[in-house]
């Protein structure tokens, strides 16, 4: 009987305070649809640290890796958790590409978009000891090479594979795309000269660049990166020329954002939008962006949804052209 009274009182209190916006009531889980140590995982763990340090919620944050089937495991988990306001997922372009490549019944419109945190660039890397000083050197060599030059990337039919496909089309060359399990593996293979080039994100290759094992040739973007702090040999991220300016007209960037499961309330969504907005303004986050050479691009609400729609259409076109769509 006592419990009933307590419950009733609790209900009254809750009812009496509609002005109080929603607050999480238990641990918040951030699902990372990639393995521990990867770029998405780093982002989630950085956020976790920032949330705790700045006390953005009283609840603990747990990072859970669900990497199976190219991230589909994590996405299915969020799909199943419809209505659960204590779950978040980190997303990249995989949010469109995994369903397209596997025909799994997944769609980002079933989730609740929270915020886009940044965009990640892709860079063409070669081994530091290789003779390719400019993009044109590499593309010339690719024309003559038999068997084709090997370009490494992460996963098949994903971002890196699309870029390599575009390089082949634009440059009129044949390349051998070698899929690896992670960007870390790719950069190690490049440092060991087992592949001729890679299309890793800046964060995935920075260690080997600084260690004098690899060298960036160009960034797959219309604009140079903005970080002017020297990274290696007195060169900074901003010193890397864009690929189009080097005669290789291929551009590609990848979103990094946060989603919630579908069917959550407006208040619940608003709580997390507010939290991620705060995160994006902390000095630790800016430091993280600089360290990973991410392009700052915070969006929420309509701006985020509009971006997603446009990006999805773009990926659908790219994936069909490359023949990566599952039949």
């Amino acid at each position: 009987m006592k419990q009933h009274w307590l419950a009733a009182c609790a209900a009254l209190v809750a009812g009496a305070g509609p002005a109080l916006a929603w607050e999480p009531t238990k641990a918040i889980e951030i699902v990372v649809p990639f393995a521990a140590g990867g770029a998405s995982d780093q982002m989630a763990r950085t956020m976790q640290g920032i949330i705790q340090k700045h006390n953005l919620t009283s609840q603990p944050i747990i990072v859970v890796n669900k990497p199976a089937a190219g991230g589909a495991e994590g996405m299915l988990d969020i799909q199943k958790s419809s209505g659960d306001p204590h779950k978040l997922i980190t997303t990249s372009s995989g949010v469109f590409m995994t369903p397209m490549a596997t025909k799994l019944p997944l769609n980002w419109t079933d989730y609740t978009p929270v915020a886009m945190m940044a965009q990640d660039s892709f860079v063409l890397w070669v081994n530091a000891k290789s003779p390719y000083q400019k993009v044109s050197d590499f593309m010339e060599a690719a024309k003559k090479a038999a068997p084709p030059l090997k370009v490494g990337g992460t996963s098949s039919k994903r971002e890196d594979n699309l870029i390599v496909f575009a390089m082949e089309k634009v440059g009129g060359v044949k390349l051998a795309f070698i899929p690896h399990n992670s960007g870390g593996q790719t950069t190690t293979q490049l440092a060991g000269n087992h592949i001729e080039a890679s299309t890793n994100n800046p964060a995935e290759d920075v260690a080997n660049w600084r260690g004098g094992a690899t060298r960036p040739l160009c960034v797959f973007s219309d604009q140079q990166m903005t970080y002017k702090e020297p990274v290696a040999d007195g060169k900074s991220w901003a010193d890397i020329p864009t690929c189009p300016s080097q005669g290789l007209n291929v551009t590609y960037q990848m979103l990094r954002g946060m989603f919630m499961p579908g069917k959550v309330t407006k208040d619940q969504q608003a709580f997390y939008v507010d939290m991620f907005k705060k995160i994006s303004q902390t000095p630790e986050w800016k430091e993280y962006l600089a360290r990973s050479a991410l392009v700052p691009d915070y969006r929420d609400g309509e701006a985020f949804v509009a971006f997603l729609k446009e990006d999805e259409a773009k990926h659908e076109k790219l994936m069909s052209e490359a023949g990566f769509m599952a039949k």
Binding site: A35, A36, G37, D41, Q42, R45, T46, Q48, G49, Q52, K53, P60, I61, I62, V63, N65, A68, A69, G70, A72, E73, L76, A101, T102, L104, A146, P147, P148, K150, S155, S156, K157, R158, N161, A176, F177, I178, P179, H180, N181, G184, Q185, T187, T188, Q189, A191, G192, H194, I195, V206, A207, N208, R210, G211, G212, A213, E287, R291, F324, A326
Partner: protein, 508 residues
């Protein structure tokens, strides 16, 4: 000897009261995590990672790496007592560890396992201390062809060195490959053999299969044989530790061999799992008492444990020096490094000397602390064997089910575990070896990826597998090991026949 001075400074950092405290806490937590199947080292480290964000990076890595050492030690406990490997690399420890426990020698087996772990880890740390930059360079020479050759070597050593019926080993191996192929194929990006099921999409998790094949099937067998009080006669006192130690110098050759195998496999990210199997396989073939392996031979516990730990420790080297994790736990630690603002890679040794040498010093001390703590618990764990099986079995089964569930929070996995329990039971009844299946399940995926990556790069030409000295040596070594068993059996058979016919002549 600049590095040596750095190491001394490292010891000073690691020996502060606070850090020693973290070390002890870490080891105890690690043992708990290692004992519970399913939880495992990587998860334990991942769960505790956030707690360390506020800490100084050196203390944080000491705490987390101590969990890693603890988990490495703890994995052996359930393997020996219940035939349930807590970690992938303790599978080979069950082969002789469990029979020893059944014979009432659980305490000896545990002591041997822990001591072997310590020796292996020590060998790994010494390697890291003295030849870190050199070895890191060597790891870079491993491309897909070389990786495939290492896996081939592991498979071949298993077939060639095995004493069971070779056709059965091969059959078991092939079933393992088949199971490993389920799920997403990373080379083509397509789903394979999932039959539209989202549960199968994850593929077969190694731990679920192992808990079923080894743990559940063992319970089924014991139930069938009648509920005997198997470990009843186990005598428990701390003197067991000293007695076991007195017997160890005899096995120096096995220990040294396993250390070498382990260090090699740890640096080339073949990993602790492959190392433990290879260590066991080689010891079985080259030991004088090889025939008794599988029936409770102490050497069969020493060999895989030493190799696994030498590998597990050496696996941290590529992580620190190159930023490539050699194991799942190393991968989580790597994530930690990044969050603390440290960039693993060639520059870490130059820019973060205090951190690196503090960590290396903590490897020596953490392992020593780990050894002392686990040895103190030997009587405690051995005492579990005195509890009647009818009480222990349900508890084991529940722990197994929880473990299977925790891996990816899926009820389906508990069913899978039970199915594999039945499969394991049938395998044992038909006298098929389980180990090759497990080996193929763990390494099959990676071997396939490496093989296909190599062929993609060479435009389909097989000559990549004898393109340079390293890969050729590995492949030749693999083929030699494959043929070793059959050829020596053949020679043995010919000799026997010769002797038999001579005997027949003499009789006439």
């Amino acid at each position: 000897m600049d590095d040596f001075a750095s190491l001394i400074t490292g010891f000073q950092v690691a020996l502060s009261w606070q850090n020693v405290g973290f070390m002890a806490i870490g080891v105890v937590l690690g043992i708990i995590v290692g004992v519970l199947p399913g939880l495992g080292g990587p998860n334990g480290v991942a769960i505790l990672l956030p707690l360390t964000f506020g800490m100084d990076p050196t203390s944080a890595i000491i705490l987390l790496s101590s969990i890693y050492w603890g988990a490495l030690f703890g994995g052996a406990i359930t393997s020996i007592l219940f035939n349930i490997p807590g970690e992938a690399w303790s599978v080979a420890t069950t082969f002789d560890g469990y029979p020893m426990a059944v014979q009432g020698k659980a305490a000896e087996a545990l002591t041997a396992a822990f001591t072997a772990s310590f020796i292996g880890a020590l060998a790994g740390v010494v390697l890291i201390t003295f030849v870190a930059p050199l070895v890191a360079e060597f790891a870079l020479r491993f491309g897909p062809a070389e990786f495939f050759a290492v896996f081939l070597l592991t498979f071949c050593s298993f077939i060639g060195m095995g004493r069971e019926n070779r056709a059965k080993i091969l059959a078991s191996l092939c079933i393992g490959f088949l199971l490993a192929a389920v799920g997403l194929d990373s080379i083509s990006g397509d789903l394979r053999m999932t039959f539209g099921s989202t549960e199968l999409m994850r593929g077969f998790d190694f731990l679920i299969v192992v808990i079923g094949l080894f743990g559940v099937s063992e319970i089924l067998l014991t139930v069938e044989e009648g509920l005997v009080f198997k470990g009843k006669q186990a005598r428990i006192d701390l003197m067991v530790v000293l007695r076991t130690w007195a017997g160890l110098p005899r096995y120096w050759l096995t220990l040294a061999r396993s250390c070498l195998v382990g260090m090699w496999m740890g640096v080339t990210p073949g990993g602790a799992i492959a190392a433990s199997f290879m260590g066991y396989g080689l010891a079985k073939r080259f030991s004088k008492r090889g025939k008794n392996f599988g029936k409770g031979e102490i050497e069969g516990v020493l060999a895989p444990e030493t190799a696994a730990h030498a590998a597990g420790t050496s696996a941290l080297l590529p992580m620190l020096a190159l930023g490539i994790p050699g194991s799942a736990t190393a991968a989580v630690l790597l994530g930690g490094l990044l969050v603390w603002g440290l960039q693993p890679g060639p520059m870490l040794f130059v820019e973060q000397k205090d951190f690196v040498w503090g960590l290396i010093a903590s490897m020596y001390l953490g392992n020593l602390a780990g050894l002392i703590i686990v040895l103190a618990t030997v009587p405690l764990f051995a005492a579990i064997m005195r509890i009647p099986f009818s009480y222990v079995a349900p508890v084991i089964l529940i722990v197994c089910a929880i473990g299977a569930y925790t891996i990816s929070n899926s009820i389906f996995d508990i069913w899978l575990m039970l199915i594999f329990g039945v499969v394991g039971y049938v395998f044992k009844k038909l006298d098929f070896p389980l180990a090759p299946l497990v080996l193929a399940l763990v390494l099959g995926d990676r071997a396939e990826d490496a093989f296909r990556q190599a062929l993609l790069g060479s435009a389909g030409s097989l000559n990549v597998f004898y393109a340079n000295g390293l890969v050729t040596t590995l492949v030749v070594l693999a083929l030699m090991l494959l043929c070793w068993g059959p050829v020596s059996d053949l020679i043995g058979a010919v000799r026997n026949r010769g002797r038999a016919s001579k005997a027949a002549e003499a009789a006439e």
